[in-house]
């Protein structure tokens, strides 16, 4: 329990550093821009329909289901946020000398978990923020999203990922819950990959590169899936893609991963990477990296 408290203190100290960090500020500016770009399609579509009620605040779900750059651009700031993993700044050597390596490393993993949660919450919140003045406060999908789903396949609707499948099978709350939960897992996974790769290589570049490759692979997988080339099985090997609820198999055909596979897959990957990070930290060289 004492060890956990120390780890939690390490994690919270890292989170408190966000307030004076330009990089973190920029990450959230990026998120606002991407959400604005995404929301603007819905607002234009709504204006085109002549809708006076506005757009229901659930568009965040569709940011991760289209093939456009929105998903990539939502995840790229995350690479920036965790780019300096294992987060060894001037202050960390003093911290490590006051707590054990294991507690310190576990604290950094906790930081990735909490940092990812904050990232997801702010992403979701900013998607609602971008609709301010045009929100249709509705527990249903609302007229605009329903219409967009009906015309899915036509110009733009594909780009924003408004699919019939999501609107038909999920209620807005369920869709939001699963999207945020799965995105959280994906963010933790990417953060841990950056952490482990950076710790092994002793640099900050390779981890970001590895994270970037995972995100690009999701994009390629998505592209292949929409090309109808019969390469849907690629989605089993792309953990970042599992964060799109559009991909999850709910019909039982098993062409794409089902929800059990996704949860088990994320659990295995996150626990596996955390154990690996803890093992590496035992012999890790403490090299202070100036993050400016």
């Amino acid at each position: 329990m004492k060890s956990f408290k120390i780890s939690f203190a390490v994690c919270m100290q890292n989170l408190r550093k966000w307030t004076g960090d330009y990089k973190v500020l920029l990450v959230f500016v990026f998120l606002l821009i991407v959400n604005h770009y995404h929301a603007s399609w819905f607002l234009d579509f709504s204006a085109g329909l002549g809708s006076k009620t506005g757009v229901a605040p659930w568009i965040f779900v569709f940011a991760f289901t289209g093939w456009d750059f929105v998903k990539i651009m939502m995840l790229l700031p995350l690479l920036m946020l965790f780019s300096n993993a294992p987060f060894i700044d001037d202050n960390q050597p003093f911290l490590i000398s006051r707590c054990t390596r294991k507690s310190w490393c576990f604290g950094q993993i906790l930081y990735i978990i909490f940092g990812s949660a904050v990232y997801v919450l702010i992403s979701a919140f900013s998607s609602v923020l971008m609709l301010l003045g045009n929100i249709d406060f509705n527990t249903d999908w609302g007229g605009v999203i329903n219409t967009a789903a009906k015309v899915a396949g036509t110009e733009g609707a594909v780009a924003t990922g408004v699919s019939n499948k999501i609107v038909y099978y999920f209620s807005p709350f369920t869709a939001m819950f699963y999207t945020m939960l799965l995105l959280w897992f994906a963010c933790i996974f990417i953060g841990l990959v950056i952490y482990v790769v950076n710790s092994i290589t002793g640099s900050t570049g390779y981890g970001v590169f590895a994270g970037g490759v995972l995100i690009i692979f999701d994009f390629i997988q998505n592209m292949m899936r929409s090309s109808k080339l019969g390469l849907d099985w690629l989605s089993y090997f792309s953990p970042v893609s599992w964060s799109s609820i559009d991909l999850i198999d709910i019909t039982g055909k098993r062409v794409t991963p089902d929800i059990t596979f996704v949860f088990c897959g994320y659990a295995v990957l996150i626990i596996g990477l955390s154990v690996l990070a803890l093992r590496i930290s035992k012999k890790q060289e403490i090299k202070v990296v100036q993050d400016v």
Binding site: L26, V29, H36, D68, F69, A159, N222, M223, S227, L229
Partner: protein
Amino acid sequence: MKIEKNHSISRGLIGTNVKQIVMSKNFYTAIILAVLILLFTFCSKKFSGEQWEISCYGVCHDFFYLFYFGMMPKLIVLISALPVVTGFCKDWNTGYIRLAAGRAGVSKYMRHKVYACIAGTFITAFIALSIFTLLLRIIMPMTTEAGIANLEFLYPFGGMVEQYPYVYQFMRIICFSSFCTVWSVLGLALSAYIPNRYVVCASSFVIYYVMEQIFNNKVADYVPTWLSIPYLGITTLTTPLFGNVLLDFLYINVLFVGLALAAGTIFVHGAKRRMRNEII
């Protein structure tokens, strides 16, 4: 003798700056990244069978569509600025600026940073877009009759597509590369006030996005065509500019280089203040 020495220092500074850019791996990474992003977007649109029938329209048409929609121009602006925009920031944070500016003089050092930023951004964008055009050219013709018939937003160079498709493409690439330099130098100007690598890298993208939104939503209706900077940058106008292709081409490039130099003066002013410890 003194003039000769000044020239020699200038040449040295320009040479050092150009070497810093061309020899850095960031330069090549940026070019590869830009080409890959262009190719990915192109392939995703082709595979998804969205709104365009690519194979029958040609390079000029598809290049136009990639640039007219969405995030593409912003991403190219961001990527082309990456190898150069952090130049001042690196020099300041490593302390190299004391040696370089001390030897060459503060004003000269600052001016050459602006020139290097303009040249570096232009070269990066130009090479990336040219490679992409050549790659597209391998799989499709420059233009087709269907492509010409479907080319909307024709002005200012659209009239050349039919007879001189290569010149048309070359002009568009040059105009867009000049356009990229404006945002890159604005990023450099910001680096004089906030010498943070991340802020500086992202600033060109953020400034461009915000300015474009303000322009589209608030200003566009009140501004004449010859000042519609976002549309001049991607050379997609709905009305003619001056009616002469060469004049239009010169005007667009002079405008962008002028704007880049204006942003450069902001940088020089800010960097001088920083050197005098007036900005903390």
